[in-house]
């Protein structure tokens, strides 16, 4: 087995073993880490690999969550059928909105994704008859075969998230993934060697949204409900936080970031309600002191973390 698979395998074994050791509360936290980790990893397809900042990625997560929520509550569709349908609906949404987003770069890309995110948010928020408006949807329960305990749904999530992460890994290591890196580093030159940059970016945008939709679909049954806040711009900030904490130039960075962020939140909120302030301070420190995130910091010391993705972005814009 090659060195680069060692770290992910250790993580996976840890994820399998942990729920038998920790109390139930922490199993919920672990489930959240996995779901948000997949969400952040899908965001990083746009951010780390394509070099654009999406500030509206929660829209696709929310569309996935609502697809599953609506199908389960209103039509009693089994969860296993809902998951691919959520991926499909998020992907379709991104196919339309992403078409416009990839025409822009930099700050304009960030603002347009945010504007579209808010558009989706307000549609869900205002469409009472269909989405339940700001009440959200309640009574989304995990399928009967998973029972009511925390562990079974955790393992279900672990399987789905692992498959999702493997799929993202294969995509990011494919020629397509390397084309995205080329576009990130120099879009103009990539265009010159005959690659349709916009079409590739559009496709990547859709892929990122599909997996955000999958993560969103897992959220509803976990939380027993969905609310429009899942699409809000504040929620779009979370994968950005997580990715920056863990390290955007490493495939597992977003997942590690999700673990740090979620654990920290669970820990801090147990004794103070001022979590936003704490998270704000932590992230400012991360940005100023270790711009590569935790994995970026460890990269030079621990050789098994060194990957091609790990190369710092040298060109700007």
């Amino acid at each position: 087995m090659k060195n680069k698979y060692l770290f992910p395998v250790i993580l996976f074994l840890l994820a399998v073993a942990l729920p038998f050791i920790v109390p139930e509360f922490w199993v919920h936290v672990l489930t959240e880490i996995l779901i948000m980790g997949l969400f952040a990893a899908s965001f990083n397809m746009i951010f780390g690999y394509m070099g654009q900042l999406s500030f509206g990625h929660a829209a696709y997560y929310g569309v996935g969550a609502y697809t599953t929520g609506l199908l389960m509550v209103k039509a009693n569709v089994p969860l296993l059928v809902c998951l691919p349908l959520s991926m499909l609906s998020a992907g379709l949404c991104a196919a339309v909105l992403g078409y416009f987003c990839v025409k822009l770069r930099g700050i304009y890309f960030a603002i347009l994704t945010m504007a579209f995110g808010q558009l989706v948010y307000y549609i869900i928020f205002q469409w009472y008859s269909f989405t339940g408006g700001d009440n959200g949807l309640q009574g989304i329960v995990p399928p009967a075969f998973l029972g009511k305990a925390a562990n079974p749904y955790y393992f279900f999530t672990l399987i789905v998230v692992t498959l999702g992460m493997i799929a993202l890994w294969i995509i990011s290591e494919s020629p397509f993934g390397y084309t995205m890196r080329a576009i990130r580093d120099n879009a103009e030159r990539t265009e010159f060697i005959g690659i349709n940059v916009q079409r590739y970016m559009h496709l990547n945008f859709i892929i990122a949204a599909v997996f955000a939709g999958l993560a969103g679909a897992l959220w509803g049954p976990f939380n027993r409900s969905v609310a429009p806040d899942l699409c809000s711009w504040q929620h779009s900030g979370m994968p950005v936080f997580m990715t920056v904490m863990g390290g955007p130039f490493n495939f597992l960075g977003p997942l590690i970031g999700s673990a740090i962020y979620t654990l920290l939140m669970a820990f801090v909120t147990s004794f103070t309600e001022y979590w936003p302030m704490v998270s704000g301070i932590v992230i400012i420190v991360v940005v100023l002191v270790m711009p590569g995130g935790l994995l970026g910091l460890l990269r030079d010391r621990l050789p098994f973390l060194r990957q091609n993705v790990g190369r710092a972005k040298e060109t700007n814009g």
Binding site: F47, L53, F55, F100, K103, L104, R105, G106, I107, Y108, A110, I111, L112, M114, A115, F116, Q118, L119, Y122, I123, Q126, W127, W233, Q234, G237, V240, F241, V244, Y274, P276, M277, S279, G280, I281, I283, I284, V287, L288, P291, N316, G317
Partner: protein
């Protein structure tokens, strides 16, 4: 629908547009000169509203308390903004876009919790002086008489900024810096100092706008999260760094909101984002902006 109620709707749109203009003017100025999209702008706006409440309650016995607390709120917010710039923002001008956005977003989070810690979670209410408690009628359409003051302040700020940019030496420097920071620096003008003062001026405007906002309704936590995105929309529609654009953008957003609420209340915000997205797609630099470095 008769003409009077349409006119009343127009006036309410004008008021809301003015409030948005006051928030967005500083945002646009800061982005124009420093290329920083300040997520914390609305948090400072809200802080301005709370400052205004505090000053008002300190001076409650005096007749001028109500009016004086508004500019004082601007000054207090400007002081916070100055500290923010010198301690943090200064370090990130040359950093990457996502780092700048994250830092200002985190500052917004920190400020919001600071507001909660300082002023508590109960809503604050400023009691208006008698002179502006009754509505006035303009062509038969009722208008909250305080809104006349709001609209006049918006106009005064617009004219003041225009005068500053057109006729003063510092205004010329700011305008030149919007166009090319490097060139201005090459002429021997200390860019870091200009940055600090432009940022402080922008935050003064935010705090002043907060002071203006405060007596309209009660001051509540979380008011800032909705308005920051609308201010972004205004700036995008009008064009980053363009004063005229910000003015036109805020009036467009205010009036579109006001009239859509008549015919299709659920769609008001949706329509704003459709317009913003359309502008970004067709003319990313906005109606009155100039194509800029990205």
């Amino acid at each position: 629908m008769d003409i009077t109620s349409l006119f009343a709707q127009f006036l309410s749109g004008l008021t809301y547009g003015t409030i948005l203009f006051l928030v967005a003017a500083g945002l646009s100025l800061i982005f124009g000169v420093m290329n920083i999209l300040n997520f914390a702008h609305a948090a400072l706006w809200l802080m301005g509203a709370y400052f205004s409440y505090t000053f008002w309650s300190w001076m409650q016995g005096y007749s001028f308390a109500f009016w004086l607390s508004i500019p004082l709120a601007g000054l207090a917010a400007a002081a916070v903004g100055w500290v923010m710039e010198v301690v943090l923002i200064k370090r990130i001008y040359k950093r990457e876009l996502y780092e700048q956005l994250l830092i200002t977003y985190c500052i917004a989070l920190i400020l919001s919790d600071t507001i909660k810690l300082t002023w508590g979670v109960t809503n604050k209410l400023i009691v208006r002086p008698e002179i502006i408690q009754k509505p006035v009628f303009i062509f038969g359409a009722p208008l909250d008489s305080y809104f006349l003051f709001v609209i006049a302040s918006g106009a005064a700020v617009a004219i003041g900024l225009w005068w500053f940019l057109k006729y003063t030496r510092y205004g010329h420097i700011v305008k030149a810096a919007v166009y090319s920071r490097e060139m201005v620096g090459a002429l021997g003008i200390p860019i870091p100092r200009i940055d600090t003062w432009v940022f402080t001026l922008g935050i003064f405007l935010a705090g002043f706008a907060g002071g203006i906002q405060a007596p309209i309704g009660s001051i509540t936590l979380g008011m800032d999260t909705a308005i920051i995105i609308q201010a972004f929309c205004v700036v995008v529609i009008g064009g980053f760094g363009s004063l005229l654009g910000t003015l036109v953008g805020s009036l467009i957003v205010g009036e579109v909101m006001s009239f859509t609420i008549l015919f299709w209340p659920e769609g008001a915000m949706v329509l704003i984002f459709v317009i913003t997205a359309a502008i970004l797609i067709v003319r990313p630099w906005g109606l009155f902006g100039t194509p800029m470095r990205t």
